[in-house]
Structure formats: C-alpha cells, structure tokens
C-alpha cells in the first residue's frame, strides 16, 4: 500500500508540557484524512512537525517514503499547506501574493494563477489588497496558494475557520473535488467534527496529544448507523425476546434499561408490542442515529468543542 505520510512515535515536549506523545499516524495515497481534536489537542503541533516547522522531541516523520528533516526540504515542493492561519501579505493584492508564491515554487505557467483564483472564486477581487478581505476570502486565498503548484499532498489546518455555512459547504465540495478529480491526498484538521466528517475517507482522533484512533470510511459509516432505542423496565428479558422472537443478534444494552437494536428497524412497532405483551414496560421507543459526534465526545470525554 502506498503511504503518503507515516509518523513513528512522534513526540513534542515543551519543558513540562507534552503537546504530542507517541503519535503513529498513517495517511494512504488518495485519503481525505480528517484530523479531529479539540482546541489545544495537539493538531497544529503535529502538523508543524510533519512540515518540518518544529523539531520533534523524539520520533520520526516520513513523507513520500523519505524521512523529514529540516536539512532536507525537497519534499515540500510536493506539498501544499495552510498551517493555523491562511497567512497572506496584507499590503499585496491576491494576485501579487500568488505571483510571489508562483515564483518561489518555480511554477512556469503564469495562467495557473487565474486557474486557482477561479477555483476558489476570487477572480473578481484578484487585484484588491488582501487587507480588505474577509476571513473567508483569506481562507480561500490560502487554499488557492496551497494549490497553485499542483501538490500531491495537501495539508489544511482548520480551513473552515471563520467561514459561514455556505463557505464551509463550498470548501467541503472543493476538497472532495480535489481528491476525486486531481487525485490529491488531503489532510484536513478541524475541531468541529460535523464540518468535515461528510467528506473524509479516514479519521484520526487526537486528544491531549494522543492519537486515540484512526478509522476508515466503513467504520465511519458504521458509527453513523441508525438503530432502535428502547427504554425498558427489564433489559435482560427484552434481550431474550429480541433473540427468540425476532432472531435479532445485533443489539446492545448501552446502560441499564436502555437497549439499542441495530437491525430490523422496520419492526419497531412489533418489537414494542412483544415487549408490552410480555410484561415489559416501554417508557420510550424511537429510531435514532448514532452520530460520529457522539462517538467523538465519548472518546475524548468532552462536550465543549466537537
């Protein structure tokens, strides 16, 4: 399998604070990798280490099969980045910012600037100073800059920051298009899971500097599945009835008195009827969706940021 990025026990410590600890991350070619974590979880620190902006305390990074070091920056020719902020020179116009980038990245095709401006829908303001841009426009300019040299691997750190819902949707669609049409592998970080989970093919969840889990698209779908949730007076008896009356095996008792059934969703009235008929009080029965958001909150133990 072709890996674009691999990290090995990547750790960053600042005096007594461990920002990132023993992270083993893998990004395969073609992935849209959603990197999720609360603010301060260690996402940007990890991205800085990946791009060689900060030195790891220990561990290694491998990009395109080659180890990353500050002495060897050739790999950056194949990468496009937005790291923490979509930094642009405020006194310059959007076009001037991109022209500078074009020269530094040795892109000979001058038309490429118009192409990326059009891609992010900034062609009408290309000759305006960035100083007057909204945060959303600056984000889009940052993406244009990251794409200008046709990178194979795109690292977007919180690209939806400051965008309105329409802007978020546009960026999401743009990321999907870039992966599908141009075959770009993308690492996109966010602290808002709902903004990115619809577009990613894999997810890495980081909390307090630890990479808690990396899951693929199928697992993501699995965690977004629908189920019947019933609040019952006797969960053991309810389980017995599910197995014997309906041959349902895919269920779980998530806490005493609450049972989740992941199959035969269409049978919820019949299930309810059988429960009642067998003397089980049903306080509530409904069809719900297990969101990734719930899973994330459970995993990270917090409800403030996701």
């Amino acid at each position: 399998m072709d890996y674009i990025l691999k990290t090995y026990n990547l750790t960053k410590k600042y005096k007594d604070i461990t920002a990132v600890e023993n992270v083993n991350m893998t990004i395969k070619k073609g992935d849209i990798y959603g990197f999720i974590g609360k603010n301060g979880a260690g996402k940007t620190t990890l991205i800085r280490m990946i791009t060689g902006l900060i030195n790891p305390t220990s561990g290694n990074v491998e990009i395109f099969g080659h180890p990353v070091s500050r002495g060897n920056k050739a790999f950056l020719e194949r990468i496009g980045t937005i790291i923490e902020f979509p930094g642009s020179y405020q006194n310059l116009t959007a076009r001037e910012n991109l022209e500078m980038h074009r020269r530094l990245m040795r892109v000979s095709d001058k038309k490429r600037i118009d192409e990326v401006l059009e891609l992010v829908n900034l062609q009408h303001v290309s000759n305006k100073k960035v100083k007057g841009f909204s945060l959303g426009m600056k984000q889009r300019l940052g993406i244009a800059r990251a794409l200008l040299h046709k990178p194979e691997f795109l690292i977007l750190d919180e690209p939806t920051n400051g965008l309105d819902p329409v802007g978020i949707k546009e960026i999401r669609q743009l990321i999907i298009d870039l992966a599908k049409t141009h075959g770009i592998t993308i690492l996109v970080s966010s602290h808002i899971l709902s903004e990115i989970h619809q577009m990613v093919t894999r997810i890495g969840i980081i909390n307090n500097g630890h990479l808690l889990e990396e899951v693929g698209y199928e697992a993501i779908k699995e965690r977004n599945r629908h189920f019947i949730e019933a609040k019952v007076s006797n969960d053991k008896k309810a389980a017995y009835l599910l197995e014997n009356h309906f041959a349902i095996e895919n269920y779980s008792i998530i806490e005493p008195g609450i049972i989740r059934i992941y199959e035969s969703l269409e049978n919820s009235p019949a299930i309810n009827k059988i429960f009642v008929k067998n003397g089980i009080d049903v306080a509530e029965i409904k069809i719900s969706k297990d969101t990734l958001e719930d899973y994330f909150l459970k995993l990270t133990g917090g409800e403030n940021n996701a």
């Binding site: 800085r48 791009t51 060689g52 902006l53 900060i54 030195n55 500050r70 002495g71 920056k73 050739a74 790999f75 950056l76 020719e77 990468i79 980045t81 790291i83 923490e84 902020f85 930094g87 642009s88 020179y89 405020q90 006194n91 310059l92 001037e96 022209e99 500078m100 020269r103 530094l104 990245m105 040795r106 100073k129 800059r145």
Partner: protein
C-alpha cells in the same frame, strides 16, 4: 536566491518604508544643509546625522519591519514551509534591508546636494561628488552593522517594538557616550569617529583623527557575532506564528 530576493522586495510594496525613506532623507538633508558654510560641511554633517542619529534608528526600524511582518501577517509558517533552507530567507531579508538602507542614504545624499544647490553653496564639482560617493558607500556599510542585532531582537520578540527601541536607544546613547573614555567602542560612536577619520584622510575636513582599529573592530564585532547568533537561531527555532 533571486526568487527569494524578488519576494522580499515585493513584500515591501505599498508599505510604510516608502514614506519613511524620503522623510528621513529630506529631514537629514535640510538639517545638514541649513547654514552649511561649504559642501564639505553639508555632506559630512549629513553623514554624521546618519551615523549617530538617523542611521541606527532607521536601520533597526527597517529590520524590525522586514522580519516582524512575517509574524504580524502570520506568514512565517508559509515562509518556512517553502522548499528552501531557512538561512536563504534570512539572507534575502538582509539583502532587502541593505537595499532599503542604501536607498535612504543615497536619497539623503542627493537631497543634500539639491538643497545645497538651491541655497547656493559654492564649489561643487564632479570630482568631489565621486569622492563623496565613496565616502557614503562606507557610511552605508557601517550602518548595516546595526542590522543583525535588530534582526535577532525581532526574531526573538516576533514584533518590531524591541528592535526599534534598540535603534532609538542606540541613537540617543551614542551621542552621550562620544565624550567617554570607551565611547569609541559603542557602535554609533565608532561609526561616527571612523567617518571623521576617513573624511580627514580624503581631505574633506581639517580633522586629523586617526582611524581607530578598536572602533572598526567593535563595528565588525557588532555585525558578525549577532549575525551568526541570529542565523543559527533562525535556522533552529521552532516556528510559531506568534499568535
């Protein structure tokens, strides 16, 4: 390297430095040309204004601006994520600052001549102008000695307040220290005394001040040591945007 230098110059577009340069040049030209008895008086006064007063402050301000802008515009992450060694950007920035200092002092030299011609100072000839160009080239090189310390302070603090403060303090202290025993080792005083010595050697002034090796050595020290330290720090530092 040319792309890097180009980018550093483009970044200055529409910036404050293009107001500061002519303003500083006009102020020093008027102050030095006002009541000047002859061309030597006007042009040496102008150079001394630069070496002791305007130069340290302006060089530090330019240095602070060029380096701190990357933090203020939050572009430092982008800059150091280019496939170039960090030292190349450092050198590119130093070259841009050198161009700014050169432009300021050259403009000041030209304005002094224009002001002198307007106030009818007699005796200007082409031979004199050529000699003074050489004299001003030395001035430019000496002013550049203030840049590495200012660069280090800016990289460290991620803004230009500290470096500008350093420049202003150097200007103020330099004048006071001139009369002290070891004053000639202070960078702005060392530059001024060296200028007077060169002016004497070139026959511009009646001063017979010997060129002071300790003064020149101190200027070299002020340039080289902070340059090495700043360069090493710029290469090794963890890059944060300053937020």
């Amino acid at each position: 390297m040319l792309s890097i230098l180009y980018s550093e110059i483009v970044k200055l577009k529409r910036s404050l430095v293009f107001i500061v340069i002519p303003l500083a040049a006009i102020i020093t030209a008027i102050l030095s040309g006002f009541n000047a008895k002859d061309w030597h008086n006007a042009l040496i006064n102008n150079a001394v204004f630069w070496s002791i007063l305007m130069g340290p402050a302006i060089a530090s301000l330019f240095t602070g601006y060029v380096f701190a802008n990357e933090y203020l515009d939050k572009t430092i992450n982008n800059l150091l994520a280019y496939p170039y060694a960090a030292y190349k950007f450092f050198i590119g920035k130093m070259l841009a600052i050198f161009i700014l200092i050169t432009t300021s002092i050259t403009m000041s030299f030209i304005f002094t001549i224009i002001f002198g011609l307007l106030t009818n100072i007699p005796g200007l000839n082409i031979e004199m102008v050529i000699k003074y160009i050489q004299f001003y080239v030395i001035l430019i090189i000496m002013e550049f000695a203030f840049v590495p310390i200012a660069a280090f302070l800016t990289i460290l603090s991620k803004n230009y307040i500290l470096s500008t403060g350093f420049g202003v303090a150097t200007s103020l202290i330099g004048g006071v220290l001139a009369s002290f025993k070891l004053g000639h080792l202070f960078p702005s005083t060392a530059a001024t005394m060296t200028l007077y010595s060169i002016a004497g050697k070139l026959g511009f002034s009646e001063h017979s001040l010997q060129i002071s090796v300790p003064s020149i050595s101190s200027l070299v020290f002020y340039f080289v040591i902070p340059l090495i330290v700043s360069l090493a720090y710029f290469r090794k530092m963890d890059v944060h945007s300053g937020s």
